[in-house]
């Protein structure tokens, strides 16, 4: 397909005049049948990377996605774009519902599933019976991720790619260091030579990077309050616990005249849908969220992202702040840090990594598997793969070490007096072009919100008073007179 044909389809099917950076290269590579690893920053327009080929190629597009909430976002996005043949195999389906979906796989163009579901033998059998255009591995860095995000079934995707006939594989991620890139391909059984890598810089020059060091949790709240009152426009505040997200949301709602809501994976699907859409509709200004929020959020005018707790690593941080400023306007990322915050992360990741004693006990069946929770899943996976206890212990040692190293990098970012952006870019093996007043608060360039000239949002006036039910009914169901 030549360039003109590509642009014709882009215009006719999707209504765009031009591709965003990186999109065309990925789409061409995929249409040429090359397995492709696309590393494009958040907001680069990932959906089009499989939606475009799906329009041209025969067969079903399988998308493997790590999180239920992310899948729901993506399914929603496609439906919003007018795609009807979209479905999702998920753990919230009953056995019967899942069977019904599996029996009708042919009738869908897009099938979303988690690595756990898609690698089940009976699902693979169904996949072998249908024509598959491409297999998309979304958030492909998860294949290589350790710590809380580690999902053993990602390692089975390699077998899936070998045993299920498909025309092409597309791996998508927003952030991957050189090491992770290599690791993704190894874990998926692909060779570097056979894979086309398309990479755009992780740099988001329109996001000012700032770290605010405080002494206590109370100070954090004070700083946070100053921030949300000082910046106009929508913002996301990330937390590492659901409880804190909920508490701070409630507190901010009381302290400000803004509309604030919490969002996390523990909320039911209806509530999540409502909160998400209120935010997209500008009915909410602030979301207090866990990392469950945002992977699929398509909102251009998020002006700021605050981290109330330190994230696990720079990859996650870059992903999460990337939700700000998709419209290209000046935006702001602030990480609030109190001494010792990193221990929360250390504890979180240590909790997910079993000790040597637990591994030994598990492998010799001396421990009640039900007591272990998710860890037991992981250990069982290794047991099924016939690994010896020493090998498993060794894996976990390495994992712990890697977590520490990643956290050290993040602390380096927090503690530096130099340019923060250059630390991020170095981490991803890129070079900074220039540090300036809108770059970051390093090199003595303290954050001054007024000087940043963040775009004033034309906020919808949100009515806090409920209208009568009659008027609500009238608005819901528009009857022409």
């Amino acid at each position: 397909m030549n360039e003109q044909q590509l642009h014709t389809i882009l215009q006719q099917e999707f209504g765009f005049d031009s591709f965003r950076p990186g999109q065309q290269e990925v789409i061409e590579s995929v249409l040429n049948g090359n397995d492709t690893l696309a590393i494009l920053p958040t907001g680069a327009g990932k959906t089009l990377l499989y939606q475009f080929p799906a329009k041209v190629m025969d067969g079903v597009v399988i998308i493997i996605s790590p999180l239920l909430s992310l899948m729901q976002d993506q399914v929603n996005r496609l439906r919003q774009l007018g795609e009807k043949k979209v479905t999702m195999l998920s753990s919230i389906q009953t056995f019967g519902q899942q069977q019904a979906t599996l029996n009708h796989l042919n009738q869908f163009k897009y099938v979303f599933a988690s690595p756990e579901t898609i690698t089940k033998p009976e699902v693979i059998q169904h996949l072998q019976r249908i024509e598959i255009a491409m297999i998309v591995i979304d958030e492909a860095h998860c294949v290589s991720q350790w710590g809380p995000e580690f999902r053993p079934q990602y390692l089975l995707v390699k077998t899936l790619l070998k045993t299920v006939p498909h025309k092409v594989t597309l791996m998508l991620t927003a952030t991957a260091t050189q090491r992770v890139q290599g690791d993704i391909l190894i874990k998926l059984g692909l060779s570097v030579k056979q894979v086309t890598t398309v990479r755009q810089s992780v740099n988001r020059p329109n996001i000012f990077l700032s770290v605010n060091k405080v002494n206590s949790d109370k100070d954090k709240r004070t700083e946070l309050l100053g921030l949300v009152n000082g910046v106009s426009g929508a913002g996301i505040i990330y937390f590492s616990s659901r409880k804190q997200a909920t508490q701070v949301a409630q507190w901010l709602q009381e302290q400000t005249n803004l509309n604030v809501a919490a969002y996390h994976a523990g909320m039911n699907q209806t509530t999540r849908y409502k909160i998400q859409h209120q935010f997209m509709n500008d009915e909410l200004q602030i979301i207090c969220a866990t990392s469950a929020f945002g992977m699929g959020i398509d909102k251009d005018n998020v002006r700021f992202v605050v981290h109330y707790h330190v994230p696990a690593n720079l990859e996650n941080y870059v992903q999460e702040i990337g939700r700000a400023g998709r419209d290209g306007e000046q935006s702001l990322a602030v990480l609030l840090y109190a001494p010792g915050d990193e221990y929360l992360q250390v504890n979180l990741s240590d909790l997910t990594i079993p000790s040597d004693a637990v591994v030994n006990d598990f492998m010799e069946n001396r421990i009640d598997k039900n007591q272990l929770g998710d860890i037991s899943n992981l250990l069982k996976f290794y047991q099924d793969q016939h690994l010896q206890p020493e090998q498993v212990i060794n894996i976990f040692h390495q994992q712990r070490q890697k977590n520490r190293q990643q956290l050290d990098k993040l602390l380096e970012y927090i503690n530096t007096l130099e340019c923060r952006r250059s630390i991020i870019l170095n981490y991803f093996s890129e070079n900074l072009l220039k540090h300036d007043l809108v770059c970051c608060d390093g090199l003595g360039n303290d954050l001054n919100i007024n000087q940043l000239e963040l775009k004033q949002s034309n906020k919808k006036l949100v009515e806090n008073e409920l209208k009568s039910w009659q008027s609500r009914l009238g608005k819901l169901f528009f009857v022409k007179s």
């Binding site: 809501a261 849908y273 409502k274 509709n281 409920l466 039910w469 009914l473 169901f477 009857v479």
Partner: protein
């Protein structure tokens, strides 16, 4: 739902802690159903499926610390203070109106169905076809799509709105407002129960109970007079609150087949068939044909053997068939319990 727990307790009848927990979580063992029926709390069956034991036990611990309950050998009894608190609770909180009808419907599916249908009608009324439906479930999407296609006409939006309006007129202003604000529509995603209760200054638990109650309310309403709504909820009306397999057994029994015949027809164990019939008796109450299973002679013997408070009866073996003896005992216990009501 948390503080509604107090309404499930009594100051006269010590109630088993695990039975209450199992009722809320929908763990339908025969023992749970029997005692749930004795306590008069069967309509709460499955009302809190996500309940965690830790959380449930913590609530009881708190109530105990507050002097509202006593717990002995896992039996809970309201104290004088607890009884007063229970009475006060009903005065201060939302009192469900349709509790007796809860078991007639597939409660969990009601709101997702109505929200999706409301959204489809709303978007249609604004002539918008590009939107993200609130449901992800293929079955739900198919059902509502078919309902929509079967009824689409020039008057469709008007009729739907009219039917909802008629239902709303049967509610209080607050209830009607609560109900409409929950709905999802074009360019207006609606409010969550949490947000809505804050705006209306009512406790969150009241909102949760109100949402369930109003859903049953609209399904009852729909089945009585309406067409569009009736079709929308048609498959959510349960044939019976009895488990599916139990229902089949009971139907055969009502068609005059004997237990032994049913055992052969269904290739099930005798004890399973007996369990099915006990379950049917619990749900069907006085309408159950007890006389087909307990002869006059048996009834007379049982009446001599078991006296006093029904809850305190201790099972005794009379023949060498323990399963049969227990079946007769429990059936008699259910029957007497129903007669006393």
């Amino acid at each position: 739902m948390e503080t509604y727990l107090i309404t499930l307790l009594s100051n006269q009848q010590p109630r088993r802690q695990r039975v209450i927990e199992n009722i809320l979580m929908n763990r339908r063992t025969l023992t749970t159903l029997f005692w749930g029926s004795r306590y008069g709390i069967l309509s709460w069956l499955g009302s809190n499926r996500q309940l965690e034991r830790e959380h449930f036990d913590a609530m009881l611990k708190q109530m105990k610390q507050d002097g509202l309950i006593e717990i002995k050998n896992q039996f809970i009894l309201l104290t004088v203070q607890g009884q007063a608190c229970k009475q006060q609770f009903s005065e201060q909180h939302y009192v469900p109106r349709h509790e007796q009808q809860y078991l007639k419907y597939n409660l969990n599916a009601g709101w997702p169905r109505l929200l999706l249908a409301g959204q489809v009608v709303s978007e249609f009324s604004y002539e918008n076809i590009k939107y993200a439906p609130i449901s992800f479930e293929d079955h739900e999407l198919r059902y509502v799509k078919q309902w929509f296609n079967n009824n689409k006409s020039e008057q469709f939006v008007k009729n739907f709105k009219q039917e909802v309006n008629e239902f709303l007129l049967t509610l209080s202003e607050t209830e009607a407002q609560f109900f409409t604000e929950l709905l999802v529509g074009h360019d207006s995603p609606g409010l969550s129960i949490d947000q809505l209760t804050t705006k209306l200054s009512i406790p969150l638990i009241d909102g949760e109970v109100m949402a369930t109650d109003l859903m049953v309310g609209i399904m009852e309403f729909a089945h009585c007079h309406q067409t569009l709504l009736k079709q929308l909820f048609q498959d959510l009306k349960l044939e019976s609150p009895i488990s599916h397999s139990g229902y089949i057994t009971y139907q055969l029994f009502q068609d005059q087949y004997s237990i032994e015949q049913i055992e052969q027809m269904r290739h099930l164990k005798l004890s399973t068939i007996r369990e099915h019939l006990l379950e049917a008796a619990i749900f069907d109450g006085v309408n159950f044909p007890y006389d087909r299973l307990l002869t006059d002679r048996q009834l007379k013997a049982l009446a001599v053997q078991y006296t006093g408070n029904i809850d305190d009866w201790q099972f005794k073996m009379v023949t060498d068939d323990k399963n049969l003896d227990f079946f007769d005992f429990r059936l008699y216990q259910i029957m007497r319990g129903m007669q006393n009501e």
